[in-house]
Symmetry: C2
Subunit: 279 residues, 2 copies
């Protein structure tokens, strides 16, 4: 909805279960990123974009520099006040930077009449998130919704997506953050090999159960599981549930009531069937 | 949601504003269909699939033969009782056959553990709808949601989709049906030329206003507008609104409160941001 001065858009959160870094056939950020799979969450980011002389971002009431959002507004050639609200933890593997960038792109396009299609806005946000070093695949997943499988990296029309049929409640608990740029800025060959194995397994058996199992195998192979995360995953499984780690954060997500059944004080939401959209 | 015996899925309705028939690069139905654009509707079809020895379909309480649904179950190699509920008029351009086929595919995959990905289920439903002669593009649009633009025909990975950023209320009124197979089974060159023009115009200006304007131009060029449809579109425009005709039906859809502002007793729903999904 837009009154000409401001517009509101929403993008779902997204937890990646496994991934492999892929710079694609070219060096262009729009055609590169990551393969992998994750879950879009009904808990996301609601963004209001308002015309302003200078660009500024306020996240949950606090002025915050979000490089991906600044990248989007620069690419669209506009300046605006961006107000973002989210219940999600920051820097903990929920794709908040990507969601904020994508929702800002949709809302800014509406306010300023940029005349972009949705694919073009996804491209702008994907490139901004990648160039900011905050995400390599969240944006394309957040534009799709559901349980997106990133078969080929990059924004449309470069990338290729599929999905695992899925529905229902998701719970999560976060013990803190991991730096995306520290992990994906380092040596990624072993990590990407584990991600490629997980993707092949999921494509052969595109079910929610295999998604969670492949994600657990990936996190262990990548050496990213610390004690708190390992304990939570084990506790959920001991209680008869299914859980894995969110990439990249010290965050555990579970199907259904997995974490609360295991005694954790978990936040809950649902698999979000739609992608980002104007409100 | 599935209890092992039955599962429920939902697919949005879809009104096509304009289209061109395209058999694609090959004869294969999976890679052919139509280009065009339309709107996914929050009014859709909710389908329950239950294990049964013989396949039967009940639509809004009445046993009904829906060839696209039978095609889906045959392709998946299962037999089931399919119960579909929809508030949408039948045979009037809302893509009920496509929505029922797609939701049935999602629910049957869940009940019978077919192990298909979402793209595979879209392929199955798209081919079944095309082979039944009831739709050439609804299914791929209903799998995406929003205001889908069918840039290249066919199911994924063959087809290519974009979207017009859009949100808000949609109203519709139907004066009766048009036979999809009568229109697309005849001479389609002039119709497809008008559709190609509309698609080019929308891709150059991917806005809701241009979508409705291009759809009106298409309907007139295709010679499909009768007096009742023409009157309704004119009345909405006279009242300051925007409306066009749904392909293929004697149906008018309008943005916001366009039809009720013009004095019509219209049904209302919203642009549905997500695609078809398990419930």
């Amino acid at each position: 909805m837009s009154d000409g001065e401001s517009a509101v858009a929403f993008a779902p959160g997204h937890v990646t279960g496994f991934f492999s870094v892929d710079t694609g056939a070219t060096e262009a950020a729009v055609a590169s990123g990551s393969r992998g799979a994750g879950v879009a969450l009904s808990a996301g980011v609601t963004v209001t974009v308002t015309r302003a002389e200078n660009t500024g971002v306020v996240l949950n009431g606090t002025p915050t520099e979000i490089a991906s959002v600044r990248g989007v507004l620069d690419a669209l050639g506009v300046t605006a006040r961006v107000t973002a609200e989210t219940p999600l933890p920051l820097g903990a593997g929920f794709g908040v930077s990507g969601a904020t960038a994508l929702a800002a792109a949709l809302a800014a396009n509406e306010v300023f009449g940029c005349g972009c299609s949705e694919n073009e806005l996804v491209q702008v946000a994907h490139v901004a998130d990648a160039e900011a070093g905050t995400g390599l695949g969240d944006v394309v997943a957040q534009a799709r919704g559901g349980l997106p499988v990133r078969v080929e990296p990059g924004a449309p029309p470069h990338g290729s997506l599929d999905g695992v049929p899925a529905s229902g409640r998701i719970e999560y608990v976060s013990f803190g953050g991991l730096s995306t740029s520290d992990v994906i800025g380092g040596e990624t060959d072993a990590l990407s090999a584990a991600g490629a194995d997980a993707l092949a397994a999921l494509r052969a058996d595109p079910t929610v159960a295999e998604f969670v199992a492949a994600s657990r195998r990936f996190a262990r192979a990548a050496g990213l599981v610390d004690a708190a995360v390992a304990d939570a995953i084990a506790a959920v499984q001991a209680a008869g549930g299914e859980a894995a780690m969110a990439m990249l954060g010290r965050t555990v997500f579970a199907l259904g009531t997995g974490l609360s059944d295991a005694g954790y004080d978990a936040a809950s939401c649902a698999i979000h069937h739609g992608g980002a959209s104007l409100r």
